[in-house]
């Protein structure tokens, strides 16, 4: 039971990062369907950074701090770039958000798989596969006294720092959204940009910042997945549909990132629960994997049917804003 909960948390953390990032973006009125691509780019940028670092100094003598900082910075840079592409097209050029997002996903997944599959050949390195166990161990280092604390330590304290960072980011985001002026302005931009503009809120600036910050956070989810969950071993299409699941999570938690923490663990649990149900056939496992999506659809329908105002999507979600057109 404890292992199940622990695995659920580990599975849920990448979704949490993705969903927090996407929520911030959606609050500004931009539906970023590029999140799956951004997860890949966040992961592969980190992998590229770690790969070159490990290969230049040798896996045995890496400095832990650098081994964490270099991939982290690379990952942030990579996903920031993706965020900039998306916001340049949708905010400045007012392009269709769905099309831009889907193109970003194609592009990002392509970049991830391409470099994941060809990095060794391109860099001419003398290794059989991308295996960053040394870097991964740095990322996975836990508090020293965890093992002595029994089930409590295993359930609450056994994760790597990125996991806690994800939870902190989600909580901080929720507080900023509800309690601060910046959050209020951001929500105003997402609900009705024309009104926000008239009130003197710099609409384009808010949209740019929220999209870029959102995609950096989402990219960290990719980094966490590869460095922690996958032990630093890259496999193409390793993420599967998790990017879309992150978008599902945003709806499931009705655009609240603090709820997102619990939601992410729930989704994480649903992803692996088939391993813990006894006597389950292979085929039935596949049906159970559809649960997160079905649950999301149900939530989406209930939310739209009940029309509670605080649970609705941002009103101008998906619409571009042009000041001279009202």
């Amino acid at each position: 039971m404890i292992t199940f909960l622990q695995r659920a948390v580990i599975m849920g953390i990448p979704l949490l990062f993705g969903a927090t990032g996407e929520t911030i973006t959606e609050k500004s009125g931009h539906l970023n369907l590029g999140i799956p691509g951004i997860l890949y780019v966040g992961a592969i940028s980190g992998v590229i950074g770690a790969f070159f670092y490990e290969n230049s100094v040798g896996a045995a003598n890496i400095v832990p701090i650098l081994a964490i900082l270099i991939p982290l910075l690379c990952s942030i840079l990579g996903s920031l770039l993706m965020g900039l592409i998306y916001s340049f097209f949708t905010v400045s050029l007012r392009a269709n958000q769905n099309v831009t997002g889907l193109a970003l996903t194609t592009f990002g997944v392509g970049i991830g798989n391409f470099f994941g599959g060809s990095l060794i050949r391109l860099s001419g390195a003398d290794v059989p596969s991308i295996n960053l166990t040394a870097t991964s161990n740095c990322f996975k280092s836990k508090l020293p006294f965890v093992d002595s604390m029994g089930w409590f330590g295993e359930l609450f304290l056994s994760y790597s720092f990125l996991a806690y960072l994800g939870i902190i980011i989600a909580v901080v985001t929720a507080v900023i959204m509800r309690r601060t002026r910046v959050g209020l302005h951001l929500r105003a931009v997402g609900e009705n940009p024309a009104t926000a503009d008239a009130a003197g809120i710099p609409v384009e600036k808010y949209k740019y910042f929220s999209t870029c910050i959102g995609s950096v956070i989402a990219g960290l989810g990719g980094l966490y997945y590869i460095m922690d969950y996958a032990y630093g071993v890259w496999s193409n299409n390793g993420f599967g549909d998790r990017g879309w699941l992150a978008i599902a999570l945003v709806i499931f938690t009705v655009w609240k990132t603090d709820l997102g923490i619990l939601g992410a663990f729930l989704f994480g649990g649903l992803l692996i629960i088939h391993n813990y149900i006894p006597n389950l056939g292979v085929a039935d496992q596949e049906l159970i994997k559809a649960l997160p999506y079905v649950v999301t659809i149900i939530v989406l329908v209930i939310v739209s049917a009940r029309k509670r105002r605080e649970n609705q999507p941002p009103q101008s979600l998906g619409l571009s804003y042009f000041r001279e057109e009202r």
Binding site: A95, S118, I251
Partner: protein, 366 residues
Amino acid sequence: MREPLFHVVKRELIDWWKAWLIRLAAVLLALVLSAIVTVIMTGLNPFQVFATIFDGALGTARRTWAFLQGTAILLCISLAVTPAFKMKFWNIGAEGQVLAGAMATATCMIFLGSKVPTLILFIIMVVSAVLAGAVWGLIPAIFKAKWGTNETLFTLMMNYVIMQIISYFVYQWSVPKGSGQIGIINSESHAGWMPALFGQNYLLNILIVVLITAAVYVYLRYSKQGYEISVVGESENTARYIGINVKKVIVRTMVISGALCGLAGFLLVSGTDHTVTRDTAGGQGFTAIMVSWLAKFDPLMMVIAAALIIFLQKGAGEISTQFSLNKSFADILTGIIIFFIIGSEFFINYRLIFRSRHKESKEVAA
């Protein structure tokens, strides 16, 4: 207050040839950038890059047929999503609707393959594929019409529900048992396989898509229903005002959209793969959305757009094979092209007015 360097103004209607000139320029720029990226990756010279791409797409008769077939399938899905998009119903569930059709076709092939005459088998296959796709499109449409449930997110989720359902049946019916794949269906009897025409396996597929293209063109352009779709897309309030039943149009259009996707699924299983997996649609449901949008919802332009994307994908595939690079290289190039065309739309719809130093200095002098 300082005047910004430039400001953006919405254009009046632009001449169609100017619009297409801008788009052409964007495609050319994108190709140049793609070539540069390829040169960096492979060390080929740019002309060799294009020669390889061309060779990969159209180099042999076999490749040309594969190219035409790929274009036909992508075109069919693009046509399918178009009516919904014109209505501003963001159906990004084409992937799932295609898979629903594919699954239905495969089911018929497995269970009825050797039991009914060929003609009846084909009728059952087509009908069930179309029905399956239509139902998969109908579900989100009903909720959209009734409660305004966000269709983008709903249709997106439906994709993964059907994928898991397919995975389920693939395990159930796997040959040999427990292998996790169905394998080629009726590989001996060829029951339910699309017949070859003049010795070409893909020709019938392609002809069917040509017919669909014409039909969708006429439907959107000249039928009353096509007109209603445009009105609802432009403004729901106007539509309601002139007495169009918006809910009915939404549901009807999504059924048509889903049905055509289901037909594409039929073409994929019966005419191309002869098997079904959760990856049968291969992301084309998403690519089709971009194709439809790039072509400005015009079925004839969609032929060009689909051909361009498939041409690049096949060509880039050849490059990655020759240089033992990863196949996803094609996706990067596709992404670049689409970004450029998306960007070009801005210059078609808006224009930049630069701050004129000249005028200001005159005013100061006066």
